[in-house]
């Protein structure tokens, strides 16, 4: 059986490798076609009984960018939205209940529905490269995770970390994800396949929030935490303008003890949001941004060395940005104080650079030119 968006191979150890390669697209996103095919593959796997399943991306750009925004933004009716969400939820549920070890092999971005797909696997293994980013940024489009993310994430990493990810939409690196228990292993790319193979052949204990982190999901603790979260949230966003984050807290507080019920409530809550005006506008902004990004021609000019005159706010940030892009930057200013300020900003921005060297990368040269 061949599929349009997936490639499926069984190796000699009877491990099934599922390569996601969305047709006619440079990026993997989850459309109903993709989900239907995945459902069909899972049905086949159920009868084939492989040793284990590895899901990975065949795209260089990343694992999965999320649900197909074009498709779900076209869902104008509540019932239509529920149907699409249910398709994702059911498919991922079947994946979770497959009965053999399942591994998501994550390289590059793993966002929204992509991370929810990974959460439905038993294990997550991520490339520890800086390009690997995991997150649930739905809230930025005025919605929330809808393919079981709100259900699966809090028990895995504890409520504070989970809610922080979902409420802010921020992404985490592979290393940070490993530290918080979101992924089982963050390994260099050269070990990814071996890690997946060994995980399937000798499945380790599955991750779960333990101790204090585990307690944060307890029925007695949830109302207390939810109150604090709402208070903090109120300082940033109004419920009538941004209903999505409030819906996330509501879901978790009321239903976190009952996964099946929570999944159903997630579906309805998400369907309400998708069809809401606030989400529609945010999604429109998202499309406009995407369009603007595609307008610029990146190949037009590729400078190696940028000389910035004037280390004020503008000049300084241009210098830092160029350095972050790997260009060699020289900065000229009348006063060393100005240059010092820019160097400080540069080092604050680049402190997560892997090597940990002072002042960004080796490609930046900040100095006064005579």
């Amino acid at each position: 059986m061949t599929y349009k968006n997936w490639r499926y191979t069984l190796d000699n150890l009877r491990i099934a490798w599922l390569d996601f390669d969305k047709a006619d697209s440079s990026t993997n996103t989850l459309s109903s076609e993709v989900l239907n095919e995945l459902g069909a593959i899972i049905a086949t796997l159920r009868s084939e009984r492989p040793q284990g399943v590895v899901i990975r991306s065949a795209k260089g750009s990343g694992f999965v960018a999320g649900a197909d925004v074009k498709e779900f933004s076209s869902l104008t009716s509540f019932d239509g939205a529920v149907k699409f969400i249910e398709l994702g939820q059911t498919t991922f549920d079947h994946l979770e209940q497959l009965g053999c070890p399942t591994v998501a092999l994550i390289q590059g971005f793993c966002l929204g529905g992509g991370l929810e797909l990974a959460l439905a696997c038993n294990y997550r293994i991520a490339d520890d490269d800086a390009r690997t980013k995991l997150g649930l940024p739905e809230v930025r489009l005025g919605i929330h995770p809808g393919f079981g993310g709100t259900v699966r994430l809090p028990p895995l990493i504890g409520a504070p970390a989970a809610m922080d990810m979902m409420l802010t939409g921020r992404t985490v690196s592979a290393r940070a994800a490993q530290k918080m228990g979101l992924v089982d292993y963050a390994v260099p790319a050269r070990h990814l396949e071996m890690a997946a193979r060994q995980t399937i052949l000798q499945p380790p204990t599955r991750k779960r929030a333990k101790g204090l982190q585990g307690l944060t999901n307890h029925a007695l603790v949830r109302p207390l935490l939810a109150r604090t979260m709402r208070k903090q949230l109120a300082q940033k966003a109004r419920a009538d303008h941004y209903p999505a984050p409030y819906a996330i807290i509501d879901l978790w507080e009321k239903f976190s003890g009952d996964p099946a019920r929570m999944l159903r409530e997630e579906r309805f809550s998400e369907a309400r949001l998708v069809t809401n005006e606030s989400a529609r506008n945010l999604i429109r902004v998202f499309f406009l941004q995407e369009r603007m990004k595609s307008l610029g021609d990146r190949k037009l000019i590729q400078p190696q060395h940028v000389h910035v005159i004037g280390g004020g706010v503008m000049g300084g940030d241009i210098a830092v940005w160029c350095a972050q892009q790997g260009m060699r930057v020289t900065l000229q200013d009348r006063k060393p104080e100005h240059i010092a300020r820019v160097v400080k900003r540069a080092s604050a921005r680049c402190c997560n650079v892997r090597s940990g060297w002072l002042v960004c990368t080796s490609s930046i040269r900040f100095q006064k030119c005579n």
Partner: protein, 434 residues
């Protein structure tokens, strides 16, 4: 280029340009810069004004006495951070206090024998990052703990932990103590004071002059070899901060001896300051000078290394400079300016006095008579280690760079830079302007 001293080197070696960081006094805690941070910032300033790319260098050689544990072969770290690229080899040299001079000497040799055309060479030391180590007892205890497998065994090991295990080994102090004779560098200076009759007043007078000269040099803008340093906290450093403008004889006289307590003469005031700093230079062959249209500052003519009694290591310059004069058939008066690194005021004075001492010159330096007096007004004219500090690995490169600067400023021709070296050695280099 007529009237040049015949060089010991097979091919001419040019010093194209150089740059150094301000020397920053160590204030107890680790400073804002590691060794590679310092050298990279000095190097960036230097490279930014060159017409060639960093990847043009044939090699990078850096002198450093104690690279930090994260910067083994610190020269390679520096080369990569400077953007020299992965194909430019880099190596670190260590000859204690003259490591920076050793780097220049190695670069000159490689150019002289046609191995390299263009070399980035210099010295660096982040003395504030010198390691503090566990003592042997503690290392043994940790090994036992590591070997203990059961909880009971671990408990047994813990019961053996004593307070003495926690007393640290200060890497810097050990590095400044002679392995063979067991004397600290300051004590070797005390020995020289005794031998050459250097009084406390002599040393303090010399130290005060060092500060006065540095102050004058700073005020006159003579130190344009310095590139401003920037740290990650948003501070900048533009000048050597060890300078004490308020230094006078009564203040210096109040200081207590630090090495031979309580009766010695060598104090913190008349010794080199513990500092962080780097100096980087570009050396080139004639071919490289032509190819890249460079305007060299000067040439390296000769160099010399000497060994002597470790207990009198401060006399190293007297021993290293003498053979150069002999070989080049130069009298003291033929040399326009001198830079003798001020490890201790006493030690510079002892070197000067040794050359005026006929007996010493005959027995120790194989001269027929006294070599002659190095005039104070031609020696360390802009201060030295006592006022601006002695970041061990960097000083060798600094004295050569600054000597060139002094020669150019005074339209002079010939200069000798020299350093004493812990362990009983001396190093010297003869340079000329072009």
């Amino acid at each position: 280029m007529t009237d040049q001293t015949p060089s010991r080197l097979r091919r001419p070696v040019y010093i194209v340009d150089g740059s150094r960081t301000p020397f920053l006094k160590v204030k107890g805690r680790p400073g804002p810069f590691t060794a590679s941070d310092l050298a990279v910032q000095a190097g960036r300033a230097l490279l930014a004004r060159q017409p060639f790319e960093a990847s043009t260098f044939d090699e990078v050689i850096v002198g450093c006495m104690m690279p930090g544990p994260d910067e083994a072969n610190v020269a390679r770290v520096i080369a990569l951070r400077l953007g020299c690229g992965k194909t430019v080899p880099a190596w670190t040299v260590q000859r204690n206090c003259a490591s920076g001079l050793q780097a220049l000497d190695c670069a000159a040799d490689d150019i002289s024998n046609s191995r390299s055309e263009l070399v980035l060479a210099g010295g660096v030391e982040s003395m504030s990052h010198a390691p503090v180590l566990f003592n042997h007892d503690m290392v043994g205890w940790l090994a036992d703990l590591n070997a203990a497998k059961t909880f009971g065994a671990k408990l047994g090991v813990f019961s053996k932990l004593r307070l003495k295990h926690l007393s640290p080994v200060i890497g810097l102090l050990r590095g400044l103590t002679d392995h063979t004779v067991g004397l600290s560098m300051g004590q070797t200076a005390e020995i020289l004071a005794q031998r050459f009759n250097v009084t406390r007043e002599d040393m303090d007078q010399y130290a005060m002059e060092s500060h006065q000269r540095l102050a004058h040099a700073q005020d006159s803008g003579y130190l344009n070899e310095i590139a401003t340093l920037y740290d990650t906290a948003g501070n900048h450093y533009s000048a050597d901060d060890g300078l004490r403008r308020d230094t006078d004889m009564p203040r210096l006289a109040k200081l207590k001896p630090v090495f031979d307590r309580p009766f010695g003469k060598v104090t913190a005031g008349n010794s080199a300051q513990v500092t962080d700093g780097a100096a980087m230079l570009i050396l080139a062959s004639e071919a490289a000078v032509k190819k890249h249209h460079l305007k060299p500052l000067g040439r390296i003519i000769d160099s010399q290394w000497a060994g002597l009694d470790p207990a009198q290591m401060g006399l190293g310059p007297a021993h290293a400079m003498a053979p150069i004069l002999q070989r080049q058939k130069l009298a003291v008066s033929d040399v326009d300016y001198w830079e003798i690194n001020e490890a201790f005021a006493t030690q510079v004075l002892a070197c000067v006095r040794a050359w005026q001492d006929a007996a010493y010159c005959r027995t120790e330096l194989a001269f027929n008579d006294a070599i002659g007096k190095i005039p104070r007004e031609r020696l360390n004219v802009d201060g030295g280690g006592v006022s601006l500090g002695h970041p061990v690995g960097a000083s060798g490169a600094r004295v050569v760079l600054h000597l060139l600067n002094v020669l150019k400023r005074n339209n002079a021709k010939r200069g000798i830079a020299s350093l004493c070296i812990g362990g009983g050695q001396g190093g010297a280099m003869l340079i000329e302007t072009v």
